[in-house]
């Protein structure tokens, strides 16, 4: 099969194995004689550990080892996971120990591990381990965590402030001083976890003969995991191999390296036997990173035409109990706010607050939905005050297309200039509005109201920095069978990464998807690599694949020209061979490889360099900015508070579309995730730091019944920043949805003057707002 491979929905490489049941997730990997691990986790949010009694567990038949921190210390170079991304904003360093020693600081923190014949015995034994706790006061609410009187998350810490920073440009105070209008608001925003279908997990074995530790690990970042394992276990980098098998989703939390990964690998090494640990759903709720709370106190200054003059304020951001990634989530929030619109002056501070809860790290969107929510809600409120249409006030403030590329007066968290490279934001909004019948909606709305039905429409825009650099390596090689083997540091976590790489390579090398094999997420296949996060892999790995494939193309042509004695320009690559245009003469990739592999003692043809293998790591520092607009249509039952989302229209620009079906899948999945953040997902802790929502009965996800009609509009403004013109798309769907849905709910309830400053919002909370608004109205009326 040959044909166009870019820009069309070629069959995905991933599909056949998956539908045939031949997918291989980490729990499908059965190493002979492997044992299983279970962790003893803190039942307290904050406590001192006086003693851990493991005797009964060790005595249980089928148990091979029980380890607490003290048992592991002699075998590690460091017991702390120093993973925080660099930043000058830290006020204290709070790294996770691989197991808690004297103090536990969140419920779910691992204290001990049991290795046994199987998980059942391991859990039975874990239940026999007695931990003698001395409970300490815990802090679980960011709103009072910085009070002088608040308990400290870590008993010896001076305070609960782990980092603070601000993003600022322009003279914001002067702008406020002379502004005709200002408005201040407080928002309380919550995001939950990622809840990939497959949780975390790994299997590790240590080969005593060659001293190599091999681990199959359900991680988004195998190369980072390898580096940490080398550091912790004092192993050289050719003695550790991390392989990411098929991933049942990642969505952020799996980019973090966790305590369990270090402990399971160490246990396998110490016991000389393969060890497997598969996270269960309860563990996912109490130990995998989440995003959770932010409180925004913001002010906006604007003029009588609704033009933004400045935004300032302070954000409190929940960091959890330790630094699992860094300050990137709140930085994402702060920098997302002023991207799409003209915000001439800005000063947003953020305090990152320690709480006795699971550490915070990015979840798809990584803080950006919150920043977008705030600016979009403020625009709605301004429109309301000025009597302007909500779409019109946005149109006036959106960065216009004529200004592309447009430099924003700030930098990314890595210090790289923010230059919005391409796109037409007002056109995107207009297309979404037109499709959603924005102008005609008030008639439908009025008609519905006469029937006692409350329908509403909301709109929100987003701009997102995608393709975080610096690079992602790709190697393209021809095998003895004439196949093209592609390997990359990129990680396939369910977003069709293998198909994407194969498409790009096939486009240069014969247009035959069946002739391309792709290996991702194996540290033995590529020395360097970053992995999957920040909507980056198609941009970075895709660009490297493109560059490597072009080099391979040129060499195949060059060698063939010697072998066939034909000018290069008369040759073309077709399937797995190079042929002379308009003739039968051809030479296969396999024969070309043989020719350049050489024969002992003989000269290579025409002194061509040996082998057919190219590695490229295209460096792209600036991010490329994807954008889009969402319009949500909802109906609210004012007595029960039920919100039915009937329709989402989503216009977006991710540059050149390589595979329409994959792009659709990414955006649709993101929209559903956004609906969860608007209406359902809530990770609740009580005032003692106990996690309350630890099953899917209490923590709600948007499911099939909650799926609205979703209509996508693809705009394409290819970026000049990479050869293929592509931008990232993995997170875009989630970004504007909470803002658009909440705006629609508020619009539906406009007869009562309900104002919503939170997400998510539940039916009981919505009813409370409606009741309060109606009471206000009747007071005013009487």
């Amino acid at each position: 099969m040959t044909g166009k491979t870019i820009g069309v929905s070629v069959p995905r490489l991933e599909d056949l194995p998956l539908v045939r049941g031949a997918g291989r997730f980490v729990d499908d990997i059965h190493l002979p004689g492997a044992w299983e691990a279970a962790f003893v986790r803190s039942t307290h949010a904050h406590a001192l550990i006086k003693h851990v009694d493991t005797a009964a567990a060790l005595a249980l038949p089928g148990v091979y080892g029980v380890f607490v921190l003290a048992d592991l210390l002699p075998h590690v170079a460091t017991h702390l996971l120093a993973v925080g991304l660099p930043s000058p904003s830290y006020r204290q360093i709070v790294d996770r120990p691989i197991l808690a020693g004297e103090e536990v600081v969140y419920a779910g923190e691992p204290i001990a591990v049991v290795i046994a014949d199987n998980r059942y015995i391991a859990e039975d034994a874990a239940g026999l381990i007695e931990v003698d706790y001395e409970p300490l006061p815990a802090v679980s609410d960011i709103r009072n965590a910085l009070d002088e009187a608040a308990p400290r998350t870590h008993r010896n810490a001076p305070h609960n402030l782990v980092a603070e920073m601000q993003l600022a440009f322009g003279d914001v105070d002067a702008a406020f001083a002379s502004a005709p209008r200002t408005r201040s608001e407080q928002f309380f925003l919550h995001r939950g976890g990622s809840h990939s279908m497959e949780g975390r997990g790994l299997i590790a074995y240590f080969d005593k003969i060659d001293g190599i530790l091999t681990t199959y690990n359900s991680t988004q970042t195998p190369h980072a995991a390898k580096r940490l394992l080398c550091d912790i276990l004092r192993l050289e980098d050719d003695k550790v191999r991390v392989i990411t098998p098929d991933l049942g989703g990642g969505f952020g939390p799996k980019l973090v390296f966790y305590q369990e990964e270090a402990v399971v690998c160490l246990a396998a090494k110490l016991l000389g036997n393969p060890v497997k640990w598969i996270e269960d759903r309860r563990e996912h709720f109490i130990s995998s990173a989440q995003e959770r709370d932010q409180r925004w106190d913001v002010e906006i200054a604007y003029d009588h035409d609704g033009l933004i003059l400045g935004v300032r304020g302070l954000v409190l951001h929940d960091h959890g109990a330790y630094t699992a990634r860094g300050v990137n989530v709140p930085y994402g929030s702060l920098s997302a706010l002023p991207l799409a619109y003209e915000v001439p002056t800005y000063r947003m501070g953020v305090k990152l607050v320690l709480t006795n809860t699971v550490p915070v790290a990015p979840v798809r969107g990584a803080g950006q939905p919150q920043g977008i929510f705030v600016i979009e809600r403020l625009l709605d409120m301004m429109a309301d005050e000025l009597g302007l249409d909500r779409a019109e006030i946005r149109r006036r403030n959106l960065v216009p297309a004529e200004q592309m590329p447009r430099t924003k007066p700030f930098v990314t968290r890595g210090g790289i200039k923010v230059v919005m490279d391409s796109g037409d934001y007002p056109a995107s909004q207009q297309q979404a509005l037109d499709r959603a019948d924005w102008d005609g909606f008030h008639n439908r709305q009025a008609a519905a109201r006469t029937d006692g039905r409350y329908v509403g429409l909301g709109v929100a825009n987003y701009v997102e920095g995608t393709g975080r650099g610096p690079y992602e390596p790709v190697t393209v090689r021809i095998t003895n069978a004439g196949k093209v083997q592609v390997s990359s540091g990129a990680v396939a976590m369910g977003q069709s990464t293998k198909t994407m790489l194969a498409q790009i390579v096939a486009d240069q090398l014969g247009h035959d998807m069946d002739n391309i094999a792709v290996t991702t997420g194996d540290t033995a296949a590529t020395t360097l690599g970053f992995g999957g996060f920040n909507s980056r892999q198609t941009v970075l790995a895709g660009s490297s694949a493109h560059a490597a494939a072009i080099k391979m193309h040129d060499k195949l042509i060059k060698v063939s020209s010697v072998l066939l004695e034909v000018a290069e320009e008369d040759l073309e690559i077709y399937g797995n061979r190079v042929r002379v245009k308009g003739s039968d003469a051809e030479v296969s990739f396999a024969a070309i490889l043989q020719a350049v592999s050489g024969i002992p003692g003989f000269r290579l043809p025409d002194n061509i360099s040996p082998g057919l293998e190219f590695t490229e790591q295209v460096v792209i520092d600036p991010m490329t900015y994807a954008s889009g607009s969402a319009v949500a249509e909802v109906e609210v039952d004012i007595d029960t508070g039920h919100v039915a989302v009937h329709r989402i229209v989503f216009a977006h620009d991710c540059g050149r579309v390589l595979h329409p079906q994959i792009v659709d899948g990414q955006v649709l999945g993101g929209i559903m995730h956004g609906l969860g953040n608007a209406l359902f997902e809530r990770m609740i802790y009580d005032e003692n730091g106990q996690p309350i929502t630890t099953t899917f009965a209490d923590y709600l996800l948007a499911g099939a019944d909650e799926t609205p009609n979703m209509e996508l509009i693809h705009l394409s403004a290819p970026t000049p920043l990479n050869a293929l013109g592509i931008k990232g798309v993995g997170e875009s769907g989630v970004l504007p949805i909470p803002a658009a849905v909440i705006s629609a709910v508020e619009n539906a309830l406009s007869p009562f003057g309900v104002k919503i400053t939170q997400a998510p919002i539940s039916p009981p909370e919505l009813v409370a707002l409606i009741v309060a608004a109606r009471n206000r109205q009747s007071v005013t009326a009487s």
Binding site: E123, G127, D639, T640, G641, H642, F680, L700, S762, P764
Partner: protein, 271 residues
């Protein structure tokens, strides 16, 4: 076996409640007695004494039995609100009633319908009216050596008006609250024999007697409906929890009763 196990054994019906509880290690019975092989506990029979549903009859079998749509319409109507089809394929009516979750639909329905529960134990057989069967949240009058064998519903007059209303945030979730309602209309056009079963928003499945009294002997007009809804709201004994405030659930009970009464009235017009 139950008797010999001396409280160490648990009966296993569809396992849709018991197995999750065991997976969370909240229960670890030494012995599980699987009832799925006991044919006598399965099946639905209908005659002039009413409807008898064996304890091991699955939600799915009840849902599929078209006769129940007239013989026990509240039972049929409640099923579509119970969980999702995968769970309905295994979950049983007996398991649900024995578990006695006040947020579950069927306990509220059997109480509303004056059903009787048939129980077999070491002391032989007994039949307990539904309103005496449920003692509290997750507590029934079943003793450790007893098995619920069937639930028996009295005959259902064709002229009876009924409605089932509940609200859950997502379809198939346990509801914030629900109402299972029926009443009859006398020759004078006045409400008679009102029965209102409360689901959720209560610690024990029960009827809303005060609201029922406010309906009986009245014409079903807007004023009566509003008054009954108001009373139902204050009669519900909801408590605050992470999902909703007591005030929300109480107000919701009123809303649902109002909707149920209107739906029942619409059914009357359709007759």
């Amino acid at each position: 076996m139950l008797m010999e196990a001396d409280g160490e054994a648990k009966l296993l019906a569809g396992g849709q409640t018991l197995l999750p509880v065991m997976a969370f290690r909240l229960a670890a019975p030494a012995i599980l007695i699987d009832l799925s092989g006991v044919q006598e506990l399965k099946g639905i029979s209908i005659d002039d004494t009413g409807v008898r549903i064996g304890a091991m009859t699955t939600w799915r079998d009840i849902e599929d039995d078209q006769r129940l749509r007239t013989a026990a319409p509240l039972v049929s109507a409640a099923i579509e609100h119970i969980a999702h089809y995968q769970i309905r394929n295994r979950g049983t009516i007996g398991g649900s009633l024995s578990h006695a979750d006040p947020a579950a639909e069927m306990p509220g329905v059997v109480v509303a319908c004056d059903a009787c529960l048939e129980i077999v134990g070491s002391n032989g057989m007994r039949s307990v009216p539904a309103n005496e069967f449920f003692l509290g949240p997750l507590t029934t009058c079943l003793s450790a050596d007893e098995v619920l064998t069937a639930v028996r519903f009295p005959p259902w007059p064709a002229t009876r008006l009924w409605a089932f209303e509940e609200f859950a945030q997502r379809r198939g979730d346990f509801a914030y609250a629900g109402i299972a309602l029926f009443h009859e209309t006398g020759a004078t056009g006045l409400v008679e024999n009102a029965h209102i079963g409360l689901i959720g928003a209560t610690s024990v499945p029960r009827r809303l007697g005060v609201a029922e009294a406010a309906l009986n002997g009245r014409r079903l007009d807007g004023e009566t409906i509003a008054a009954a809804a108001q009373l139902a709201s204050s009669e519900a004994d909801a408590e605050d929890d992470i999902h909703a405030s007591a005030a929300y659930r109480k107000a919701l009970v009123g809303t649902l009763l109002e909707r149920a009464l209107k739906a029942a009235a619409e059914r009357a017009e359709a007759l």
